[in-house]
């Protein structure tokens, strides 16, 4: 086996990676243009080496840098001592490798005022003025070339509309919840990385509540509308003809008028042969995406970038394709433009809602378009891989062992990879939505994996393991004490419609073998261990949390959210911070390699190389040097452990 994937390198494959990166590359400034997948693929995708993580990125010796501070400009002493990521940059004069901080509070304030001017009265696209801002800052960026650049925060949300608050605390009054991590606030709790924000906490607490029913006499309608408007995030999906297909909050009665307005706006631009891509109104960002016969709209107060919202909309679209397949859906609309897609989609509302809820809670996996794996020793993983290969049945296409949304092992044909987007749909179905959860027993699920092939169905056998008694007949989904985090599922995917019993047999063989060779016990232990805390990974580190994405493997690792981000609000703020960092790294035209920002409550770092993307957060008083050192140690850790934290190659046949 080891020999078989000795090339080890590629793994979750190139095409997936390129797609993923191209999506990311389409950030920001080309918002006016229609995105075309094919173009994306070919356009300026940085040729990230298809090498395994172990191939060290071309880092010049950092020690030397530290030892020879005279090479560095005086201003950068004590600055971010990050290794320069390309040999090219090593040859540059020192000045150009200077890392500069990105953000000062003054910047934010000024932005808020700028926005005030340009937006207060109209929902004009913020892209206009963003363009302006970016141009202004690209000047800074250019002097640093790509080694380290300055980027200022592009405000992702508009400031409020009332001029009055210009006189007040600008940030506090104007910031949307998404901004909060950056707002300076007094009275920050000891240890908290984010300032208090009761309004956001209140809103977030009710974000997942159902709206009250409108009583038949309609008297409560106003109250319900208030509830509806208080939601931080909406998704709406309509057909090209304006028929509602899905709305995250609110029933038909409630959303009809909104759907009408949105449809009118979209049609207006279509009538002018233009495409409405997004606008801001009342501190809320609206992003519109047209795909085939569908219009998808994201409405968010959470401060994501347009591109991030688009990625979320794309996931919802993929979910619909996963149910119907593209040709079937297009045929329906071709036959009858006024088709009500809700009928054929009946029963999958919960999948769309679960995706939307996931985006609202904040999903590192979606943000990074990458997967998370269960950490285990390489030899242990190899045993599992080999067992999968040994028990593989004839018609198996993909086989996966998944523990609480983290991949344990995967078996796949050499020619085919699994796209993270497809896996996300599967994980959402199994671990987030109640459908399979509630059913009990084993499941046989026809589904289309749109990134694999959006024209046809595959068939997925699903069985949840009772880790304590794995060999017993599964009559129901076992209740694990740790909730979904500890659930282990075996997924076997085939093109064979009638393959249930074949795959069921494989599952029995597989579980028996895994039990015999001790792998089940190892999986159980790894699952129970959970994610390590930051300080377990690097003793004494200043980092409170991080995301590390291996570009080549399309996988990421992160530490436990405990203890600093154990409650959902703190977690959401952390994700919001990551979203801002992500936006900063992927904004055009600057494309900074390193982005550092501070606020009164935390300091954060984003770092991009061809091999990885790293986002990290530390308390506010952390020196940049300390942050940089922590980041470097983290990189060393990943390099050392990469064959444990990532699935490299997997079981290929």
């Amino acid at each position: 086996m080891a020999g078989e994937d000795g090339d080890g390198a590629v793994h979750q494959p190139l095409d997936a990676k390129q797609k993923d990166e191209s999506v990311i590359n389409n950030n920001g400034d080309n918002d006016v243009k229609v995105l075309k997948n094919d173009e994306e693929k070919d356009s300026g995708v940085p040729s990230a080496p298809a090498s395994r993580e172990g191939t060290p990125p071309p880092l010049p010796p950092r020690r030397k840098l530290l030892e020879t501070p005279d090479r560095r400009p005086p201003t950068s002493s004590g600055a971010l001592t990050l290794p320069r990521s390309t040999p090219r940059s090593a040859a540059r004069p020192p000045l150009q490798s200077k890392a500069t901080t990105a953000l000062s509070l003054a910047d934010i304030h000024s932005h808020a005022h700028v926005n005030e001017g340009s937006y207060s009265n109209s929902p004009a696209s913020r892209q206009l003025s963003l363009g302006g801002l970016r141009t202004a800052h690209s000047g800074h960026g250019s002097d640093g070339d790509e080694t380290a650049s300055v980027i200022s925060y592009a405000p992702t949300m508009e400031a409020g509309t009332d001029v009055e608050s210009m006189l007040g605390d600008v940030l506090r009054d104007r910031s949307t919840p998404g901004w909060v991590p950056f707002s300076p606030r007094k009275g920050v709790e000891e240890g908290s990385l984010f300032p208090d924000d009761p309004d956001f906490e209140e809103a977030f607490e009710h974000e997942f509540d159902e709206l009250d029913d409108i009583t038949s006499d309609g008297l409560d309608q106003d109250a319900v509308v208030v509830q509806w408007k208080a939601k931080l995030k909406h998704f709406m999906i309509l057909s090209f003809a304006g028929k509602p297909i899905h709305s995250r909050h609110g029933n038909d009665q409630l959303i009809t008028s909104s759907i009408g307005v949105v449809q009118t706006l979209i049609s207006f631009y279509q009538g002018a042969s233009e495409e409405l891509r997004g606008f801001t109104a009342g501190g809320v960002r609206f992003v519109v995406m047209s795909r085939g016969s569908l219009n998808l709209i994201a409405i968010s107060k959470l401060g994501e970038s347009d591109q991030q919202l688009r990625t979320q909309l794309d996931s919802l679209y993929q979910q619909i394709l996963s149910t119907l397949t593209l040709p079937v859906m297009e045929r329906m609309f071709k036959n009858r433009a006024s088709t009500d897609l809700r009928r054929p989609l009946q029963g999958t509302e919960t999948l769309l809602s679960a995706l939307a809820d996931g985006f609202t809670r904040g999903s590192p996996s979606t943000l990074l378009s990458a997967l998370e794996c269960l950490k285990m020793r390489k030899t242990h993983r190899n045993v599992i891989n080999n067992t999968l290969l040994k028990t593989r049945s004839e018609n198996l296409l993909y086989g996966l062992i998944v523990a609480g949304g983290r991949l344990v092992s995967v078996v796949r044909p050499r020619k085919h990879s699994l796209h993270p987007g497809d896996l996300q749909l599967i994980f959402n179905m199994l671990f987030e939505a109640g459908s399979v959860k509630a059913g009990g027993g084993e499941n046989w699920i026809p589904l289309c994996l749109p990134n694999f092939n959006n024209t046809g169905y595959l068939y997925m056998y699903v069985s949840f393991l009772n880790l304590d008694k794995p060999l017993e007949d599964i009559t129901e989904r076992p209740q694990s004490s740790g909730g979904t985090e500890e659930e282990v599922a075996i997924l076997l995917i085939s093109t064979e419609k009638e393959g249930f019993f074949e795959l069921r047999q494989m599952r029995d063989d597989l579980v028996k073998q895994l039990g015999k060779n001790g792998s089940l016990e190892i999986i159980k232990q790894a699952v129970r261990r959970g994610r390590p805390a930051c300080t377990d990974i690097i003793p004494g580190t200043v980092l409170r949390h991080f995301l590390y994405k291996s570009r080549g493997n399309v996988q990421f690792i992160m530490p436990s959210f405990e203890p600093a981000f154990s409650d959902p609000v703190a977690r959401r703020r952390l994700i919001t911070l990551y979203m801002h960092l992500h936006t900063a790294l992927h904004s055009r035209p600057v494309h900074p390699k390193i982005h550092h920002s501070t606020s009164t409550t935390h300091t954060s770092l984003a770092w991009s190389t061809p091999v990885f993307e790293l986002y990290a957060v530390a308390p506010a008083n952390t020196q940049r040097a300390a942050l940089a050192q922590a980041a470097n140690r983290l990189i060393q850790y990943v390099r050392r452990e990469e064959e444990r934290v990532f699935i490299i190659g997997g079981a290929v046949f």
Binding site: G441, I445, T475
Partner: protein, 222 residues
């Protein structure tokens, strides 16, 4: 999805009969198929259930009498229209079927009738079909919610040769009775080798399979 090799006779259970049958549940979406199965298999009920996606496979064993045990292998199918084309693979080798409708939804009986027709035309010719009018609990308190009179459905069931029960997965009324009635009607003694097992310890009777059926046979089970 041919009939599989059922497990052999239970060791130690001399003088006992053990039969294994395939059962499929069909019916319009949201009539309560999964709830019926869950009540039968786990004796549980959730007020709010998500729709079944694809199909779920469950098993449940019941004792008919002191010496007879029947194991059901149950396909709980999703009721949505888009899964219709997959149905034959679930009922093709089924020994029995439960066609479910919602007694508060008139249209659901029409759908049930269509399923019965399809089963009688396409499925195993000896298939035992039971018609189950679910959500009986809803009409106990407010009889005006009932959309389908018991007598109508009963008459239809009689005419079509179906077992008939009005059930409530919520209160478990008639659920066990339904499955027990099916088990009793199944040909325990003359059952084909693929669905019938008797303990080999029983002298003089050898009901071991003549041939182990394998995957993909796809043929009729009779």
């Amino acid at each position: 999805m041919a009939a599989r090799n059922p497990q052999g006779g239970r060791p130690g259970a001399s003088n006992s009969r053990f039969a294994q049958f395939k059962l499929v549940l069909l019916g319009e979406s949201a009539v309560g198929k999964s709830s019926l199965v869950l009540r039968f298999v786990k004796d549980q009920f959730d007020d709010y259930r998500e729709s079944t996606i694809g199909a779920a496979f469950l098993t449940q064993t019941i004792a008919l009498d002191e010496s007879t045990t029947v194991k059901f292998e149950i396909w709980d199918t999703a009721g949505q229209e888009r899964y219709k084309s997959l149905a034959p693979m679930y009922y093709r080798n089924a020994n029995c079927a439960v066609v479910v409708y919602d007694i508060t939804q008139a249209s659901s009986l029409d759908k049930a009738k269509a399923w019965v027709k399809e089963l009688q035309r396409q499925a195993n010719e000896n298939i035992i079909i039971a018609l189950a009018g679910n959500k009986l609990d809803l009409v106990t308190d407010s009889p005006d919610k009932r959309a389908i009179p018991t007598a109508d459905a009963e008459q239809y069931a009689k005419d079509s040769g179906l077992l008939f029960f009005e059930t409530s997965a919520k209160t478990s009324e008639n659920v066990k009775e339904l499955f027990t009635a099916i088990a009793k009607k199944l040909p325990l003694d003359q059952a084909g080798p693929r669905s019938m097992r008797a303990s080999a310890t029983r002298p003089g009777v050898d009901l071991r399979p003549e041939a182990h059926s394998t995957q993909g046979a796809g043929g009729c089970n009779c």
